[in-house]
């Protein structure tokens, strides 16, 4: 026993020596960095530090991964002019504000937050740090140094609806959805309208999960829809769990955010996807070049921000042609997803023939179109 004790003592001493030995070497490097401490790289111009705050994990196979691919694209495009950092799994609570402050403490002067519930905390941080530029994805607030950015995912959802409407055999589509907020409602409506445009008899059943990112919960919700007889599922969720549930049942699924054909090879049809890279690179470049100004951004299919992923062989015959036709009309502006006539669930006409929903109306939509089976609480 005494031997082991002395051995331990020796180890402790050695370790202490090692630490004190290297401490003086490391110490001088620390103070001058003060604010941030990325590994010393002192080229001519200090690189711009950009921080990303993610709701999910960077490899969630969906929403956050799409953003992270955008971050990587940004790094590739701007090279050594920029350093990016990210923090994943940041909840929609005050933790978000803390993470933002952490990133600023580490030297970030540009912050992107990627989930709806990060909005208030981003706004708060923006007010506290007027010299930092903030971008919040999917919300509606903004300020002098605080922009929101998002895109017309409804256009890609509409096309996905066409794919689903042609594929279904029993006219029951299932939609696993996160929260009853306008963004999600808008997507469900667009998907339904798209499906109805090729198959007037379809119904879209909605199942709420009240989480953006929870593979187990998402899968449970998907299974419930499958049990209710749906044969094409889609999702407003961050992971591929819905697609996997469809794969196991031997039916079809449409993803979201990314082309995820490999995670459900027999079920996957397509996915409405985001291409964030171009926006991130362009926006950060404007800051570096000194051309920045506060501006909210709502990209669309024409910009390439949203798109429909390439169709797989699982789609019904004739789908490609139908999608191409609608896509061309959306891009050239001759068709708008929310143009009348549109009826709500009660059958009342909400958008009369010949008129369109305004931007403000679609940003605050709180009713479902006819054909959706579900409730907005």
């Amino acid at each position: 026993m005494r031997k082991t004790v002395s051995l331990l003592l020796v180890l402790v001493l050695l370790f202490a020596a090692a630490f004190t030995g290297c401490a003086p070497k490391q110490e001088p490097a620390a103070p001058p960095e003060a604010g941030g401490d990325a590994p010393e790289e002192t080229p001519k111009a200090e690189p711009l530090k950009v921080g990303f705050v993610y709701i999910g994990s960077a490899n969630d196979g969906g929403y956050t991964q799409a953003h992270d691919e955008g971050r990587v694209y940004l790094e590739e495009q701007l090279g050594d002019k920029v350093v990016t950092m990210f923090k994943e799994g940041v909840p929609e609570s005050s933790e978000c504000e803390k993470v933002i402050n952490d990133l600023i403490d580490q030297g970030c002067t540009v912050i992107f937050t990627n989930s709806f519930g990060h909005m208030d905390y981003t706004e708060k941080a923006a007010q506290a740090h007027p010299d930092v530029k903030f971008y919040h994805c999917s919300g509606y607030k903004s300020g002098p140094n605080f922009s929101n950015y998002f895109g017309a995912m409804e256009e890609a959802r509409y096309l996905a609806g066409i794919v689903a409407g042609l594929r279904t055999q029993n006219n029951n589509l299932g939609y696993v959805a996160a929260f009853e907020i306008p963004e999600v409602v808008r997507g469900i409506n667009a998907f339904t309208l798209g499906a109805q445009s090729v198959n007037p008899n379809v119904k879209v059943k909605v199942n709420w999960t009240h989480t953006w990112y929870d593979p187990a919960k998402e899968k449970e919700a998907a299974k419930a829809l499958l049990d209710a007889g749906c044969d094409v599922l889609t999702q407003h969720q961050d992971t591929t769990a819905t697609q996997q549930a469809a794969e196991e049942k031997g039916v079809w699924a449409i993803g979201y955010d990314l082309d995820t054909r490999d995670s459900a090879p027999n079920a996957y049809l397509t996915a409405p996807i985001w291409n964030w890279g171009k926006f991130y690179a362009a926006e950060v470049k404007r800051i570096i070049d000194g051309n920045w100004k506060q501006e909210n951004y709502y990209g669309n299919m024409k910009d390439g921000l949203v798109d429909l992923a390439p169709l797989t062989d699982n789609v019904a015959p004739g789908t490609q042609e139908a999608v191409d036709k609608a896509k061309a009309k959306i891009i050239d502006g001759s068709f708008y997803v929310f143009q009348g006539p549109i009826k709500d669930q009660t059958g009342a006409v909400r958008v009369p023939e010949g008129s369109k929903m305004t931007f403000d109306e679609i940003m605050s939509v709180d009713w479902f179109v006819q054909g959706v089976e579900g409730k907005i609480k």
């Binding site: 004790v5 331990l8 003592l9 180890l11 402790v12 370790f15 290297c22 490391q26 620390a30 003060a34 604010g35 401490d37 990325a38 921080g51 994990s57 960077a58 490899n59 950092m85 990210f86 923090k87 994943e88 799994g89 909840p91 929609e92 609570s93 005050s94 933790e95 803390k98 993470v99 402050n101 952490d102 990133l103 403490d105 580490q106 709806f116 519930g117 208030d120 509606y140 929260f179 009853e180 907020i181 306008p182 409602v185 009240h210 605050s364 709180d366 907005i376 609480k377």
Partner: protein, 364 residues
């Protein structure tokens, strides 16, 4: 012939202080060694990562403040847990008591907030302590009256409390201006705890409570009675201690402390009530209380170190771009060894070779 070797763990009669310290230091070294292997797997330099962890927790004034903010709920909850554990009341209901405390404080912050700020804050504090205390009193009452298992009851009551907060968040208390997003409105400025020296005033509460609980446990009659009940309920009965009453008082205190944590987190950190309010502190504090051997001054130190571990772990994610899960594995490894060492502090292993003659059937 195989001679089976048996290993038995035997409780040490009186663990020597020196030896215990050595075991703990040894555990830290092993923890660092094991995590180093893991860090090498991530293709990073372990020394670099450890230094960054320290920098992440203490590197700038801002980071020290953040570490303190994380320490505050851990300290107060650990103090509460310490009181209950001292009595061998295995209360794991910290989460629920924090949530109920936060709920009570939020009621006043959201719906009765036209009082002057000091009054409102005082009312919120009292309400939260009362709510946490009453929530803890339910399992204590069952235990004192019918001898129910408090571990299970307190655990189940956590779920009830958190579901209650969730119900409010998704239902009656949902902010009508949130466009359908399930969020309770932020507290008005009136209901937010002030800052002192850059950190919200909860740190003052924590320090005062450390002293108060230390005095209560070590220098008051009630504190002594609590310790006696913990050591032996029969001795307590023989000594004429009113066991039921003492249990109820201690648990009420314990719940009150957790409730206060709920108020502090809702008011000073979250600025609102949400299901995220507890942040798992109710469970984490069990570890810190236990590591601190339930001693109030040690709780302060251990909680601070634990908070530093959390902050450092968070920092290395952004610096090295490693996934959150990897940082959590690192924290887990360190904790595993530190907690594991407690076993070796309290027990020793006895190796014995069983002889076939005495082992009998066991030797087949």
């Amino acid at each position: 012939m195989i001679m089976p070797i048996t290993i038995r763990a035997i409780k040490k009669s009186e663990p020597g202080r020196m030896k215990a310290a050595l075991i703990r230091i040894g555990a830290m070294i092993l923890a660092l060694a094991a995590s180093s292997l893991f860090i090498l797997l991530l293709r990073l330099n372990p020394i670099d990562v450890y230094l960054k962890m320290v920098q992440g927790a203490f590197g700038t004034a801002y980071r020290v403040k953040e570490t303190i903010v994380k320490t505050i709920p851990l300290v107060i909850t650990s103090l509460g847990i310490g009181i209950a554990f001292k009595m061998q009341f295995w209360n794991i209901g910290g989460e629920g008591q924090i949530a109920m405390g936060a709920f009570a404080a939020s009621y006043f912050a959201l719906y009765m907030n036209d009082m002057p700020k000091p009054v409102l804050l005082l009312v919120m504090i009292l309400a939260s302590m009362l709510a946490g205390g009453l929530w803890a009193l339910i399992p204590a009452f069952f235990k004192a009256q019918w001898g129910t298992n408090e571990t299970i009851v307190t655990l189940m009551m956590n779920y009830i409390a958190l579901k209650w907060v969730m119900f409010l968040q998704y239902g009656p208390w949902r902010d009508p201006n949130s466009l359908g997003f399930p969020k309770i409105a932020n507290f008005p400025e009136n209901a937010v705890l002030p800052k002192l020296l850059g950190v919200h005033i909860g740190w003052v509460f924590a320090l005062i409570l450390v002293v108060a609980v230390y005095i209560f446990i070590n220098h008051t009659k009630k504190g002594y009675e609590i310790a006696v009940i913990g050591e032996s309920i029969n001795t307590a009965r023989y000594a004429g201690i009113n066991i039921k009453k003492t249990i109820l008082i201690a648990i009420m205190l314990r719940g009150g402390l957790c409730g206060l944590v709920g108020m502090i987190q809702a008011s000073a950190v979250n600025y609102t009530l949400s299901v995220e309010i507890t942040g798992g502190v109710g469970y984490t504090a069990i570890i810190t209380a236990w590591l601190a051997a339930l001693s109030a001054p040690l709780i302060l130190i251990v909680s601070f170190l634990f908070a530093a571990l959390l902050e450092g772990g968070s920092y290395i994610q952004t610096v090295f771009g490693i996934p959150q899960s990897a940082a959590e594995i690192l924290q887990g490894l360190i904790l595993f060894f530190v907690l594991g060492s407690e076993f070796f502090v309290r027990y020793k292993f006895v190796f014995a070779i069983k002889h076939p003659t005495t082992a009998g059937k066991g030797a087949s």
